[in-house]
Amino acid sequence: MSVDGMISQRPVPGEPRPFDFPDTVRTTLANGLRVIVTPMPGRELVAASLALRAGAADEPDAVGGATVLAARGLTEGTEVRDAIALTEAAERLGASIHAEAGWDATSAGLDVPASRLAPALDLLAEVVRRPSFPEGEIERLRDERLTDLLQARSDPRRRADEAYVSSIYAPSSPYHRPAGGAAATVETLTPAELRVVHTSTYVPSRAALVVAGDVDPDEVVRIAESLFGAWSGPDESVPDPIDDTSAVTSRFVRVVHRSGAVQSEIRIGHPGLRRLNPDYHAVAVMGAILGGLFNSRLNMNLREEKGYTYGASAGFDLRRARGPFTARAAVNTEVTVPALHEFLAELDRIREAPVTDAELKAARDYLVGVFPLRFETPGPVAGSLAGLFVHRLPDDELDRYRGSIEAVTAADVLRVAREHIRPEAAAVVLVGDHDAFGEALQAAAIGPVEVIRDADPVAPPADPVAPAAG
């Protein structure tokens, strides 16, 4: 067929240019620090980061938020200079140092032109090894975090995320709260708690320096030796298991009421699986089909057929312990209950029958085919290598990735869907106008419904706020 002279014949792909994850040189210094270097010729802007197996999941409940605050505090001043001097020194190199912590790891890093790598790593070593956690700055960071938590309650998306994790995990689990800590513990944090995090977990045996870009590995190891060789600390102990106890035994609905909301934020799911679960590759394929690809079942149904949402998706947050499995969308208020039916129907359907050959092929081809795109530039290369280190994955994990994805069958997908998705034991969390859909929700009998009315999502400021005079 030809319309207006157009070519109807679809092009056949050419011969793929072979691509392998770039060769990586791994060294361990005498103090236990791993140095991981990926030379990427022609990549002048180098990515460097120091990854630490120091995560928010490992901190005691009483100091919830200390790990994240410690990471942010790294760039607030060192024994050598204050935050401003530090920032300016980095900026003169064309770099800005970012430091952040999550559930499993802390990372401090920067992107810098290759010619200035040595002085940039010097700064990186300074913030990681010798932070001073100045009292005034830490107090300010703590207050900023508290204010951020206040803002989160007024943002429907963040409110939904927070209500969701606190619904699916038991209070005994750290995952019940945000990684950055809840207000009750954050407000008690001082430099002393941050120093404990630093002394006990910022040690070479838990650390890897990862560098990717147009660099010479021998040179990087020499620099690492001079900057980190004298760094010492206790050997890494075997980490305690993380409590990931589920709070969901049977399906229930929790609604955070927001009067007049034009959309309902929907979160559905339960604790999922660990990063090291052997079903990792099969779950990646299953997740892509259910809610990862643009043409996933959820998005095709709720967006492209029904028009209920700008986008529906589902996925697994893979952590050291069982992170959340979450299906999500924001739908217009009127279709809230019909949208829940579609979500639950899709969660059932992926468990009831094998996916089609076409679905399986599309998901596998995407995950395999996108591999060279993922590693075009140094940043993602360094990030993935740091991830392997944090999760203690084998060095050849990324080399085996595509083969493992290609080996996933429709039977594997069905098996892992049945094992890792449990619609009958899922929390259904909504942030929206309960007055508008409450009756329909009750009638739908999805599960027992609990309604939360935030006392006053808008906290009154201490001083009266008046607009400035013109």
Binding site: V3, D4, M6, P13, E15, P16, R17, P18, F19, R43, A83, I84, E88, E91, R92, A95, S96, P113, S115, R116, T147, D148, L150, Q151, S154, G260, A261, V262, Q263, L293, F294, N295, E304, G307, Y308, T309, Y310, A330, A362, D365, Y366, G369, V370, P372, L373, E376, T377, D456, V458, A459, P460, P461, A462, D463, V465, A466, P467, A468, A469, G470
Partner: protein
């Protein structure tokens, strides 16, 4: 460090399609990027939001591609893709493993050539609902979500094409008919109104052959309408203020200043001023308002690089709990005043440039961004070589030029102050629509 030069070819097919190819074989990936010279500024009153709605429709199929199949084919090829709409243009892009380049070019050609015949009322209605949900999600159900719409309304006069936001109004989206959409396509989605850029692991001669094969038969529109005169006075001529009550826990003050249009070197200087004012911990506004005086939770300054008539410099400060809004506004404006009266130090300028340089190098390292920039500079300025000249332009700006550019725009008779304050508790639900009590439906 040496500034890498992007080498490219630049030519037009007989039907007017501009083809730009930048070969680079570092990674086995290639980006295809099409800019159509049509954005929300080309919309007429009563039909706002069309350019963006149309962008969605472009994924609904064409003669040889089914609904949503464009996405499926690119993803199954191991590619990533999207489309975006903004005031001055609409762009579509795919990044694919290099052996899939021909597929991406064919897909773009098929929809440029045949989308019209394939569009159904059902698919239009579906995407209309999707876009309305995008508007609810991105604007209406988000704290401070109405700020951009309000700011554009205050910055650009009624009837000016930048007066309304790209997302449009719910009423206009509801009114969009199949005929409207088809007329929009026939007018703007033509080869002589488009630039296609291909960057990355490809062969220039092969790309040209494929472009001719797939795009060559698409007919141009000999009568592309000219834009109305969009010129504006250099300054607003007055201060404009508005206060909005919203479901927010913290007050936030938004500022806007009319600025020279994108492409004017004075806007380059304003970009660097933004870096000096809020780019990182050592920047002036962050240092004073967030760190030292602890008045603000966060601060921002950036430009809206619009190309017709006038651009804008935008900023905000989020007011910390218990702090007087007026005090934050005064401190913020005081810092702008200082930059307008005294040139920044050499060290400050050098740091701002070093960060700008690193940002630019990081962006241009990716084929997707390189292709997008080539299309952008060709579409907006008829000068794709700006991909190589913009960074030197930034690096040539002096402290005195930053001061002078700041002085020209950071003035009371050229500013808008839009203040969001928490809605007093106890407001009845009937007063709320989830997007701010003073929400003005007529603004669009």
């Amino acid at each position: 460090m040496p500034v890498p030069i992007v080498e490219f070819s630049d030519e037009r097919l007989p039907n007017g399609l501009r083809l730009i190819v930048a070969e680079d074989h570092l990674a086995p990936v290639v980006a295809v990027n099409v800019w159509y010279n049509v954005g929300s500024k080309h919309e007429v009153p009563g039909k706002t939001g069309f350019a963006h709605l149309f962008e969605h429709v472009m994924f609904q199929g064409s003669a040889n591609v089914g609904k949503a199949e464009h996405m499926a084919l690119v993803q199954a090829a191991g590619g990533t893709l999207n489309g975006t709409t903004w005031v001055d243009r609409t762009n579509y892009f795919e990044t694919v493993p290099s052996h899939q380049l021909e597929l991406a070019m064919w897909l773009e050609a098929d929809r440029m050539g045949t989308m019209l015949g394939a569009l159904s009322q059902e698919n239009l209605d579906n995407q209309r609902e999707v876009v309305k949900n995008e508007k609810r999600w991105s604007y209406d159900n988000r704290p401070y979500g109405s700020w951009m719409e309000k700011m554009l309304g205050l910055l650009y006069p009624e009837g000016h094409p930048y007066h309304h936001p790209t997302i449009g109004s719910m009423a206009d989206l509801d009114a969009a008919s199949l005929e409207d959409v088809k007329a929009f396509f026939a007018t703007w989605y033509v080869p002589n109104n488009a630039v296609i850029s291909v960057a990355g692991d490809c062969d220039r001669a092969q790309v040209r052959a494929w472009a001719e094969k797939y795009f060559g038969s698409i007919q141009p529109n000999p009568a592309i309408p000219a834009l109305p005169d969009m010129s504006l006075p250099e300054i607003l001529g007055e201060e404009r203020r508005e206060t909005v009550e919203d479901q927010v826990p913290l007050a936030r003050v938004y500022f806007a200043f009319r600025a020279p249009a994108f492409g004017d070197t004075r806007l380059d200087a304003i970009d660097l001023a933004g870096q000096i004012l809020t780019g990182g911990k050592g920047s002036r506004l962050h240092r004073r308002l967030v760190r030292e005086e602890r008045l603000a939770q966060d601060v921002a300054v950036f430009t809206l690089p619009f190309v017709s008539g006038a651009a804008a410099c935008i900023g905000w400060a989020t007011v910390r709990p218990g702090v007087d809004v007026a005090k934050v506004e005064a401190a913020y404006l005081d810092e702008l005043e200082k930059l307008a009266s005294e040139a920044p130090s050499e060290d400050e300028v050098a740091r701002a440039k070093a960060l700008t340089e690193a940002d630019e190098l990081g962006s241009l390292a990716r084929v997707e961004e390189r292709a997008d920039r080539l299309s952008m500079y060709a579409t907006l300025f008829d000068d794709p070589a700006m991909i190589n000249t913009m960074l030197p332009r930034y690096l040539a700006v002096t402290g005195e030029e930053i001061r002078d550019a700041a002085r020209a725009i950071f003035r009371q008779d050229n500013r808008i102050v839009l203040t969001y304050v928490p809605k007093p508790s106890g407001a009845t639900p009937d007063d709320t629509d989830g997007s701010g009590a003073t929400r003005d439906e007529e603004a669009a």
